[in-house]
Symmetry: C2
């Protein structure tokens, strides 16, 4: 009777719904100070002068941190997960509106607010570049004069091509086959530009950090999905040994990529340091979230050559990603987004150039899908444009090109465990495909359309997770892990995997919360990797623990260790279930307090820096989406009529939690497709609040939807991750449906009514409009 | 350049002295309730009725826990580390004044206090027995009708002889040789009764516990010196798997034995359970500390036979310990106190009977010295009485009897690493012994006297500690341990041991705080065992970590692993220090996040239940004391003129911390000798406050004192513990000095002026008064 595959009780369900679950938001220490951040009103400016002298005199103000403390102080002045290009607070220039310029710590919020008001900053404004395309222009302002590098690389396997041109933070290139030759030879060539907008993550719990720094070390309570990454960064900032920095992460109230890299912790640590060691807490306002992180806006110049039957012979992609003012994780994201632009198709000749462009905007980072939604929007939209142009059913066109087991990905990696045909047919069938398309009610203002999309997504590689299992004196089991519970249910899922890995009941398993001082190292809780990688580490540790148990039981039951069976908390002799011993009793006899086993799970892979060829993932996550929409031709409003996703799970650990992930992906995809956009005007965000920036809800999915998780039969399948796949497929499916409805190519997200109306007005029924000259 | 033996910076010294060090006292959770305890006014009574209905209606009161919840509820109704004889709250009878009868949880302290006032309890008082001698009388009330036993024993090696007679909780017996024969044959036989008083531990931080219990598990923040013992007890109380109970222990503000076993946690856990899972915090008042734990009062009937030269030929001890109303740890303490009654002397024939007697008083537990001060008071006082009677110098008498390497202890264990001769000579010499004794100024009211004492003390056996060492990505080191920092400096000392065990600088080492969810199992922080046992575990883990480092370095430096030298954070080739690699660089190459090593350190031993013969300790701690005092013959006031202790350390890890332990032992010993006593009147404590119960301070030591730690040369010596030894020797040394000054036997502690005056008045210069008939 295994736990995996069953609806085990969700960990802490009752305290979660009754508001008693502790989050970093709840962390408090005696004598704690309230921190607040002064932010730049300018998108780009030289800082002439920061005068905090009046602020420091305000009663209750304990410390004011400015660029003066940072520029020549004992701390590392800049930080960043790949390139340390971001100042703790700006000290020479500000590079985006909302960038921290100073921070204060005070005994209460009022004193902190008064201090912010009292800090005088004099700026000399500079011209700014808001989009990646603007930043690439010849007369664009230079945002960074110099891109700093780190002595030892945080991501040793990451291909870095920094600074080849003005405002290029970093780029990635992929070369496979001979694209120019193949395009010359192709029966048809399609080329167009596809754009997506910056988005806000909308995590319910804002970024919040409580830091206490003293000479002996640092302790940080923070809402982060990557405690060890925070530890490394804070240690670097404070120039402390890593062992003396302790990062504690309770439950996290939503992350989606917003909390994978340090964006607040180094500053709060520096502020606590400035107070001489007082605990300082900073909780961002909702507006400040918009100045902290966003999804990359992307411009994808995509050229695809096909033969007479629509079989793709070559693809060329040039992608500009708006990285924002600082590198953050862009160098890695544009690599993933880069090679993913070839899509889940068999293409012998591929050229990709992917550029992280510095822009005078909020720094961009990972966001559910990690670059794939942006490029999938391009390649799946173009797929429909090709189908329309060639008069091939778009499901059929995809079938002719989809990869199968044994095919190679754009990076040359041989693919396996691929189920896209089945997933696509299934999603399409669920909206009545092929069937006849009724383009709305004739003569009515409502046009109906349908669209499909399919994607593959990799997970961060190389990748390492360590897990410990501790069998306690009563036979209950502790899972030592630093996986972060971000709401995805990892505490439940990992407990299930551990229960089966050892042979105990899941209600006797408890999973730890991350605490870098004590829980084992894990790379990050992101990239749909925890169930796969941490689950694998737990299974390996389970093997070792079972070996220890079998050895002890072998002595006690007087049989060979190989004849010991462990299940439901008992060790028994194979074939003689009545000769058994309770696991707790074995532990007590061992006199060690408990039995302990640790294991590390690694996936390996790297890319050739010149060609982008190599192994990129231990498994390709797969999802398909099918959408049916109604477009109001008078208002431009899009309503989803039917939305379907199909995601490959290998084997599902917890059916309910998996289904919720699928539904979350749908909602996120719908939001990106229909209305989510951080809107800039002259370098200023004009909708930095949740009234003007609308987050999607399940109601936006309309009357009919199913997020189905597809499994292989138990025993045949490996457990994969599924937290992002659907989100990458949904926007393109919806966009394709809208294009189908209005009979015109739509090439920019979100599908805001005004954009739809504009397209309808300029309706170009000829899909060959996609045969534009490719942008170089 | 090793760290052990040097004055490394004391961990968290600055936050400790600036009030920023977090204690359990500081723990807080959102929505936390304040708990308060209603206590019995009677020493012994039947509970007729508890009516909490009015209390429950008071605004702000969330829960009231009474015997009704406990008697037939889902929780385990009773608890206790050895015998589960203590109710969470009393439900049929109260057995001591101050016993919890009900507990309330309310939104603030005022509501909690009002609720306590509103609970109506009806009692039917019973006769009570306050001292162990009273409890042993034929007409004493029966305090427990039945002594419950636990299904599986918490201390599997503990010899238990429960309930052989009325009010005997448990007893221990030791039989070596033929005492009756030897006494008949002895040249002289001395027999007398020696008494010590109950004491309060006086820990600066009171007992304080914050508990949050929900269906998923329990989390407990508590001021405890034994987190895993608390975990086991709370799991038993709540009937939860141990893995689902998490006990977190920050810094502890003094323990001294008061916090080694659960005395508050089960009740607070039950109270949180009663609220339906709200966090509940209970902090004891100073008065409540007196109703929580004390040192055992003891009555020692000691008979010693010597030959003509004063060489001891036989000893018989019968000891009654006042265990208080519940067993707590008495069954183990009376074993240690029992076999220790033979003292550090070569005695071929020994009979010991040691009884834990239930009394209607606060339960007694371990207290610095763990039973040795009480019996050392008896055997060292009697030594001086024998010396006086036989006209032998009391230093010389001791020399003739002291054990040496190769001699056997009372339990038959062969002793080694014994340095008592040297320690005793040295202490005696420091007060001018032998020299002439001026018994004060002739004709003045001041009499001066001198006294010596020496003891051995065992540490809990069998004993297990597990430690983990984690070498981080920058070569800094985390020590994973559940040793509790109770102010003794374990966080500094264990860091030093770890630094040397691996070969890194101590300022790059950080030691974890205990958290049962994540830090490795440890038996307890008590019994002077942490430096010895946890230090040993760390050294073993260090060996394993060095093996891993050497293997990696061997690959990298291209030499055999055996030729790798690890020191100061670098691995180099033996003889070629320039060919080296920084440890962090090795860790980063290993791509596991860090290197991890765990090790368990065990000591073994057990006693024959019939004879008390066997192995009791991995090492005998040794201390001697010498005192010179002035006694004011008019007021009975004793002033210490010179106090000296000598303690064997093997090797000192941190000179300052060791010295502070020695001084603490002196102060504790002086308090016990001179004035500390929990005074009962009719079953009521009359001095349950720190005005009437006086704690000693360093000023009570008088003008001249040295607590010297003696070491073997580095390299020759093992590291031992030294946190209790001196405290056991000091009271007898002071008592002997007072007896010497007034020329009369003093046989009861503390040496309060009225007691001295009474003895002077009844002065019996004939020390043969000790030749009383032995109490049977």
């Amino acid at each position: 009777m295994t736990s995996v595959g069953r609806k085990a009780p969700v960990a802490e369900a009752v305290p979660r719904v009754t508001g008693r679950l502790p989050f970093a938001l709840d962390a408090a220490l005696p004598g704690m100070l309230h921190g607040a951040i002064l932010r730049s009103p300018h998108a780009h400016a030289v800082i002439i002068r920061v005068d905090a002298s009046r602020a420091a005199l305000i009663p209750g103000v304990v410390a004011v941190l400015t660029g003066d403390d940072i520029r020549d102080g004992p701390l590392a002045p800049t930080y960043g997960p790949v390139l340390p290009d971001r100042p703790l607070v700006a000290f020479d220039r500000v590079r985006f509106a909302g960038e921290p310029v100073a921070a204060v710590a005070a005994v209460d919020r009022d004193a902190a607010a008064a201090a912010l008001d009292a800090i005088e900053v004099e700026y000399d404004p500079l011209p700014s570049a808001v989009t990646a395309e603007e930043a690439a222009e010849a007369d664009a302002p230079v945002i960074h004069d110099r891109i700093p590098e780190r002595e030892f690389k945080t991501f040793p396997d990451l291909v870095l091509h920094p600074g080849i041109d003005k405002n290029v933070c970093n780029y990635f290139r992929l070369r496979k086959g001979d694209v120019d030759f193949a395009l010359r030879d192709a029966a048809h060539v399609f080329a167009a530009v596809y754009r997506t907008a910056p988005q806000q993550h909308g995590n319910l719990e804002p970024h919040v950090t409580l830091a206490q720094i003293d000479r002996g070390g640092a302790t940080i309570w923070t809402s982060s999905a990557a405690p060890f990454t925070v530890r490394a960064q804070v240690a670097e900032t404070l120039r402390f040994p890593a062992a003396r920095v302790r990062v504690i992460v309770p439950n996290v109230g939503g992350a989606y990529g917003a909390k994978t890299y340090p964006r607040l912790e180094p500053l709060v640590a520096a502020l606590s340091w400035k107070t001489g060691g007082r605990p300082v807490r900073v909780e961002l306002t909702r507006a400040e979230e918009f100045y902290t992180i966003c999804r990359h806006a992307a411009t994808v110049f995509l050229t695809t050559g096909v033969d007479r039957d629509g079989v793709i012979v070559a693809r060329k992609a040039r992608i500009l990603w708006a990285a924002g003012a600082y590198a953050d994780i862009s160098p890695r994201l544009i690599k993933n987004g880069g090679y993913s632009a070839a899509g889940p198709y068999r293409i012998p000749n591929v050229t990709i150039d992917s550029y992280a462009m510095y822009t005078n905007t909020t720094p961009a980072g990972g966001f559910r899908g990690y670059g794939v939604p942006q490029v999938a929007w391009a390649y799946e939209r173009q797929m429909d444009e090709i189908a329309a142009d060639l008069g091939i059913d778009s499901l059929e066109l995809r079938r002719r090109n989809l990869v199968h087991d044994g095919d190679t990905f754009a990076t040359g990696q041989v693919m396996e465990d691929i189920h896209l045909d089945e997933l696509l047919d299934d999603a399409a069938g669920a909206i009545g495909w092929p069937g006849t398309t009724t383009h709305g009610v004739p003569e009515s203002r409502i046009a109906r359309g349908r669209g499909l999309a399919c994607i593959v997504k990799t997970t961060v590689t190389p990748s390492t997770s360590t897990a410990g299992l501790r069998l306690e004196e009563d036979g209950s089991l502790t899972v030592l892990t630093s996986t972060v519970e971000v709401g995805q249910g990892s505490r439940t899922v990992l407990a299930q995997i551990a229960a089966d890995a050892v042979g105990v009941d899941v209600d006797r398993v408890r999973v730890t919360y991350p605490d870098t001082a004590t829980t084992p190292w894990d790379q990050t809780t992101s990239s749909s990797r925890s169930t796969l990688m941490m689950g694998g580490a737990i299974r390996k540790a389970g093997d070792e623990l079972r070996r220890q148990i079998a050895e002890l039981a072998s002595d006690m039951l007087e049989v060979a260790a190989g004849d010991v069976v462990i299940e439901s908390g008992r060790a028994s002799i194979v074939g003689s279930p009545d000769r058994s011993v309770e696991l707790g009793s074995l532990v007590r006899r061992a006199r060690a307090g408990n039995l302990l086993a640790y294991a590390t799970n690694r996936s390996v892979g790297s890319l050739d820096p010149e060609t982008g060829q190599g192994v990129v993932t231990p498994h390709f996550y797969q999802a398909t989406a099918a959408a049916e929409v109604d477009v109001d031709l008078e208002t431009g409003h899009v309503s989803i009529v039917n939305l379907q996703t199909r995601t490959w799970a290998g084997r599902t650990v917890h059916p309910t939690l998996a289904e919720l992930q699928g539904e979350g992906n749908m909602v996120f995809g719908a939001g990106q497709a229909l209305f989510e956009e951080v809107v800039y005007d002259g370098g200023q965000i004009v909708n930095a609040n949740l009234a003007d920036y609308q987050l999607p809800s399940i109601r936006d999915l309309g009357p009919q939807w199913t997020a189905e998780i597809r499994e292989a039969p138990a025993g045949e399948a490996r457990i994969h991750g599924l937290g992002e796949s659907g989100a990458a497929a949904v926007p393109a499916a919806i966009g394709n449906a809208v294009a189908d409805a209005i009979g015109a190519p739509i090439r920019e997200l979100p599908l805001r009514p005004e954009r739809i109306l504009e397209t309808i007005r300029a309706r170009r029924t000829d899909a060959a409009g996609a045969r534009e000259e490719v942008w170089r």
